[in-house]
Symmetry: C2
Subunit: 261 residues, 2 copies
């Protein structure tokens, strides 16, 4: 997982077109973020949706309209070029997956950087806890739940969760550790019976890959950053741009800075 590259190195490789795939393990120790870009007219209800649903939508930074520079999390970066891959959504449908969005940029675009579970996974690994999807070298399994988010019209939808299996004593430690990171989803929302939150089959995640659950382990569920993406798609806005799955924005802040206590 570890990489000696700096955040600026990773962003430069993305800008040059050399890095077009996932950023997992890049610039180890630095915070990676989900990206959502919207026209100004939709920025208030989207920020409100995030304020009302802070577990799945922990906002790290919101840029000024038209400004592609995240001045607090990476003042030398350019959000139009510095991610490996983007997704362009028109009327809720995927309309393209470019590696640069300079030609699509508009003066009324507002960018949201949203916390990502990579941050707390680093803390779990440093505490010696096993993180199954990292052990299996695949994506974390994610599931749609029956838990409704608090709407902020036109944004609404159900909570999406990620799952990591742990032995009970490990799960308790994982709850303690992730509680310290409210800016990146914080404590879990559920553990144990998946049916209680509307998940039918852990072996068939809605996003990502299935992972093994060993004897004695309990599935533990965290609010997931895919939740705002689902709410965005359901709102069928004329134009939204996001990062491509796994191709996050690498910031200049350290994961440890995000620890709340």
């Amino acid at each position: 997982m570890a990489s000696a590259k700096s955040p600026e190195d990773v962003r430069r490789l993305a800008r040059e077109g050399t890095l077009t795939g996932p950023t997992s393990g890049q610039a180890h120790g630095f915070t990676q973020a989900n990206l959502v870009i919207l026209p100004r007219e939709h920025a208030f209800p989207f920020l409100l949706f995030c304020q009302r649903n802070p577990r799945p939508c922990p906002v790290l930074e919101v840029t000024e309209p038209g400004d592609p520079v995240p001045r607090r999390y990476a003042p030398t970066a350019d959000l139009r070029t510095d991610l490996p891959c983007y997704r362009v959504w028109r009327n809720g449908e995927l309309a393209g997956e470019p590696t640069d969005i300079t030609d699509l940029w508009r003066d009324d675009f507002v960018s949201f950087l949203i916390g990502c579970s990579f941050t707390f996974e680093s803390a779990l690994l440093e505490a010696g806890l096993p993180v199954r999807h990292i052990e299996q070298d695949c994506n974390v399994p994610m599931y749609r739940t029956s838990i409704a988010c608090t709407p902020a019209p036109p944004f609404a939808g159900n909570l999406v969760v990620s799952m990591r299996p742990f032995l009970p004593a490990q799960a308790i430690q994982a709850i303690q550790i992730t509680s310290r990171f409210p800016a990146v989803h914080g404590a879990p929302v559920h553990f144990g019976d998946p049916a209680q939150i509307g998940i039918e089959d852990l072996g068939r995640p809605d996003f990502g890959d299935p992972v093994e659950i060993h004897p004695g382990e309990t599935p533990v569920f965290w609010a997931c950053g895919v939740t705002p993406q689902v709410a965005l798609m359901q709102a069928r806005l004329p134009l939204v741009i996001t990062h491509s799955p796994g191709c996050m924005f690498v910031t200049d802040r350290r994961d440890a800075e995000l620890a709340g206590i």
Copy 2:
């Protein structure tokens, strides 16, 4: 301080015009909140100012435009009548202090409920820590600092802090306790030398009343909810409505629910 009245009792007394003064000590154990009401056109930059300055501006709830009901924190309340006293600001100047704002209400008004230090003071008192301004039965002393908030145009300004003196061991405990309450200002921002944050004379607060500092005690400074009010006044918007100092909105949520960990 304690009161057997329910939040609904306190709100009804305010609505009827029986309670027109401070809410400190009313509906003990329930969260009280600062109120800011703005036209929709200013709601996005103000929410952004709060997002960028979460210590002084911890947003508890934002209502839908035109809706006077805080549906998450007190679904049976009416923000136009249920505070003891309001302040109406026109172009940054105080233009009135009514006990009811029904006649001023507009379809484009958005209301913000912002966390208040009463919540963490309850936790400090329950831990047996002395809270000097409560002992002296006066308002907490508050000071303008030299620390600039992160602007969100048209909103900008310096941080305002409240001060409570403690012995060092008490201060450490107070840091631990308030860290658990990020939704109501969280951990302190400074302790010790007031000059380091631009405060000239602790005996002359900019807001509230001075308090005694006993031998061996250190002043401890927390981000204060007056900060967004100062930013609002400086922006000189045509119309803003806030609560009158000390006359807070009493919610149905318990202080203990706001503990982050």
